[in-house]
Symmetry: D2
Subunit: 261 residues, 4 copies
C-alpha cells in the first residue's frame, strides 16, 4: 500500500504559519496525505523555534518537524524544543548537541516512517560528513521501516544532488531545504529514490527569501549589518508530495506543491 | 509588438551542445522565438569556451552567448572568444578584464535587445558591486532599447532575488544561472520584470550538476582533489521563454522550459 | 627630521584599554614617540566603539583611531563615533557608509601624518578593491604630506603581503591588523615602506585572540552559537614603532613592540 | 634529559630546499638539535611533494616531514610519497585517505618523539574535527612517548590558539603552519605546552608568501586565474626550536628561528 507524505519547505514566521493553517486541510484532502512533515527552522519570527510555535504547528496538523542551521537561534528555547520526540535537528552535528537527528513517525494508518535530517557543509558549518552519518542513521532506521524521508538542509546544489545519488535506492526521498527557493528538478532517481533539490519556503513572497526586500538590498549594497524583519504580503506555501511503496520503501511518485494563498 | 526570447541555461560540454542542436529548431518554432541566448560558460568540455564551440553554438542558431565564472578556464582562448561581439562575460569584473559585459542583439524582425551579464559575489569572487554596475550598464543600454535581458550568474538565492527586486521595472528579465538546477519560482515581479532564480542546465542529467556522480560523491567524502569528466547519459535541455513588450520593455509572460531529449 | 609613530594593535575591551593606560606614557617616552595611533574596533566590550571609549582612548594619549569589520557592531553608536575627525573606518566600504577612511593627524611638532584604513576581502566582506581605493586615497593624502601610515585590516597573509608590495615606495608603512596575533615579519621593503603582517592585539592573552578560551573551544567543537565574554587575565600590549623620514616619507626603521604588563 | 626539536616552516620549492641545505647543519650545531622536522607541503615546485624531493630533504638531514592541504597537489606522487614511514599528512582527513597522520621518530640518542599533523577547518576543507582527532591520536602516541610535537596546519588564528589551549599539558608543542608568515607569539602555555601560531616559511621572501609578487597582485586586482611561479631572490629560513623534557613531555623552552641566508 502506498504512503503519501506531504513535506513543506521552511516556514517563515507568522505569515508562514498562517499559510500552513489556511492551506493544510485542503492539501491533505486533495492529495490523500497520510503524513505531514514541515521544516520549522524559521517558524518563530524567522529565526528558530519556540515551544509555542511547535505547539501551534502540531495543532494545525503537522506530524513531524525538521530543521537546520537556524534551529539554534533561540538559544534558551533549544533544549525544550528539541526535547519534543517529533522535532529533530540535523543528525550530523557533533556529539553533545541537544536533540536527535532522526525520528520514527507513524501514519494514522499505522505505517512507520523514518525521518532523517542532515545539514550540508559547503558554504555552511564544519559538521560531520553527511554522507557517512546518513549511512549510519539509515542502517538504524531500516530496522524499523523501509519508508525513509530525508530532509537535506544545504546550500550547494552539487552537495544536494550528490547525496541524492548516494542514497538512491536506500531511502524513499531526499528533499532539500535551506535556499528558500523551490527547484523544478523533482524526479525519481534510477534506483527508486524521490529527489528534489529544494522544497522552497512558506511565507511572504513579497520578500527576498522571506526577509524584507529593502533591507536585503541594503545589506548587499552597503556590506553593513542590517536588522531584518519578516514581511507579510503575498503569502505562499511551497512543498512536495511523495508517494512511497510501504513494502519496498521505493518512491512511486513525486509532485511539486506551490500554493498562492 | 511582443518579442520572445529563449534563454538556455549553462550548456555543459558536448552533450549540452548536442541537446541544443537536437532541440533548438523545434523550440524556436513552437514558441515563436525571436532571439536565442545561451549561457556558454561550460560549453567547451565543461570548462569555458573555445572559438570552435562558439562557432558551433552560433551555427546551431544561437544569437548571443553569456557566461560566468568559468569563462576564464581556457586561458589562451579567452581573448579570441571574448573578441566576438555577441559573446559577453559578467560586467562587474574589474577594469582591465578582456571582453565586454553587455551587448545589443537584434532580432530578425529588427528589434534591439540589450543583454547584460552579471556575476554574484556571495560565495564567489570579490567583484565590483553587481547592483551598482547594473545601474550603470542599464542606463547605457536604455539609450538603445527598452528590452533588456539580464543573466545574473550567482550562487545565493538571496543575492539573486535581491537583484531581481532591485531591477524590477527597469529591465525586461532577470534570470539566474550558475547553480545548474532549474528553479520553479518564475514570475513577473510587481513592476513588470520577469524573474527566475535559475534557468538550470543543458547537458547530462545522469550527473551531479553536469559532472560525474561517482567523482562528485568521492570529492565530498574524501575532501581530496578529483578529476571530473562530463557524463553523456540522460541529456536534457533547461531554459526559459520570456515574452517582452517591445515598447515598454515590460515582461508579458515567462515560461519555464525543460526538455528531456 | 624623523617622525616616530607608535601603532597599537586591536584593543580588546576594558582589559585592552587598561593595558594602554598603564603602558602608553612609558612607551612614548622610551621610544620618543611623536604620534600614537590605535586600532579600536574591539575597544568597547570586544565589539565596536562607543563615544565613551573613544573619549577614554583620546584621554589616555591616543592621537588617532583606526578600525575594521567590527566598527559597525554597536549600530546606534556608529554615527557619533565616526563623526569624530580622528576616528576612521576602512576606506573601501561602498559609498554611503558613515565616516571617512582616511585622516590627517598632526604631531605636536607640527608634522602632518596621513592615516589610511583599508579592509581585506579574502574571507571577509565584498568591499571595494583595497588596491584601487589605496591608489585613490594615497594620491589625495600626498597633496598634504609624504608621511602616510596604512592600517590594512585583513585576514589572509597573501592579501596583506600583496598590498604591502603594491604600495612599497608610495607610503611610509603598511601594518596589518585583524588576526589579533602579532607577526614576526616586520621589515622595510625594497622601495622604503615599513611592513608587518599584523600588529597583534592589546588585551587578555589568557584567551583565544581576546575571547574566552572555553567558549572558543566549545564553539569549534560543537559548531553551535556561543556567547563570548572578554577575559581579564594576562594583559599584554602589542604594537609597532615606525620611524619615518619626514621629507621623503620613507621608513627609516620598524620595531615590533610586545609588552607583558 | 631535554630533547631539542627544530621544526622548519613550509619549504617553498627549490629556493626553500636550498635554504635548508645551506643552513641546516649550522642550526643543528648551534642549537644542539636532536631532531629535525619540516613541513614539506610546498617543497616540490611550490605544490606538493615528490619522491625525489622527499629523498633530497632526508639527505639534507631532515628526520620527519609533515604537510597540509597542498600535499595532494601532485596526485600521481601521493601514494609513493605518503608510503614513506616518516612523511605524514593531516590526521583529520576522512577514512580512506592515503598515508598516516602521525608517526614516531627516534632521535640519535634514542628518544622517541611522536609527531602529529592536523589541518584546520576554518576557511579550509570539511575535514574531521581536529580537536577530537587530536584526542584520539594523542592517546595512541602517549602509549609510546610523552614527547609529542603537533603541526597544526591552519588559516585562522582563533582555531590555532583554541587547539593550543585545548592540548595544553597533553603535548609538548603545538606549532602552526600554512599562513607562510611567522608569528611572534611563541610561548609556553600554562600547563607546559609550547605554542606558536605559525612557524613561517622557508624560501624566497621577495614574494607574496612564496609566490610571485606581480602575479599575486594581479590576481587580487583582476579576480582572474593567474599562473604562479616560485621566485628565487631573498631566500630565508623560518622555524622554531622547542626544548622538551623527555620524562614529562613538558616544554622547557621555545625559540623562534629566522635566518636571512
Ligand atoms: Fe530556512
Ligand atoms: Fe537554513
Ligand atoms: Fe555553469
Ligand atoms: Fe558558474
Ligand atoms: Fe579585531
Ligand atoms: Fe577585525
Ligand atoms: Fe604551505
Ligand atoms: Fe597550506
Amino acid at each position: 500500500m502506498p504512503v503519501k507524505i506531504l513535506f513543506i519547505g521552511d516556514i517563515i514566521g507568522k505569515p508562514g504559519r498562517q499559510a500552513l493553517s489556511r492551506e493544510l486541510d485542503r492539501l491533505v484532502d486533495r492529495h490523500c496525505i497520510d503524513l505531514v512533515i514541515v521544516n520549522g527552522e524559521n517558524a518563530a519570527g524567522g529565526f528558530g523555534l519556540t515551544t509555542e510555535t511547535v505547539k501551534e504547528l502540531f495543532d494545525i496538523g503537522v506530524h513531524g518537524i525538521t530543521s537546520g542551521n537556524h534551529i539554534w537561534d533561540k538559544k534558551e528555547q533549544v533544549p525544550m524544543v528539541l526535547a519534543h520526540p517529533h522535532v529533530i535537528r540535523p543528525a550530523n552535528y557533533p556529539d553533545g548537541a541537544a536533540g536527535r537527528g532522526s525520528m520514527i513517525l507513524t501514519t494514522p494508518g499505522g505505517v512507520k516512517v523514518g525521518v532523517l535530517n542532515l545539514e550540508g557543509r559547503i558554504y555552511m558549518k564544519n559538521l560531520e560528513c553527511p554522507f557517512r552519518v546518513a549511512d549510519r542513521e539509515i542502517e538504524s532506521l531500516r530496522q524499523e521501516t523501509a519508508v525513509i524521508f530525508v530532509d537535506f538542509h544545504a546550500e550547494a546544489t552539487s552537495e544536494k544532488s550528490a547525496l541524492g545519488w548516494y542514497l538512491d535506492g536506500r531511502v524513499s526521498a531526499v528533499i532539500g531545504t535551506h535556499t528558500h527557493v523551490q527547484t523544478a528538478d523533482e524526479r525519481i532517481l534510477t534506483q527508486g529514490t524521490a529527489y528534489m533539490s529544494d522544497a522552497g519556503m512558506t511565507g511572504s513572497f513579497d520578500s527576498v527569501i522571506g526577509i524584507g526586500k529593502e533591507e536585503a538590498i541594503r545589506k548587499f549594497m552597503t556590506q553593513l549589518p542590517v536588522k531584518f524583519e519578516v514581511p507579510k504580503k503575498d503569502i505562499r506555501l511551497n512543498g512536495v508530495v511523495v508517494e512511497v511503496d510501504e513494502a519496498t520503501g521505493n518512491a512511486l511518485a513525486i509532485e511539486r506543491i506551490a500554493v498562492t494563498c
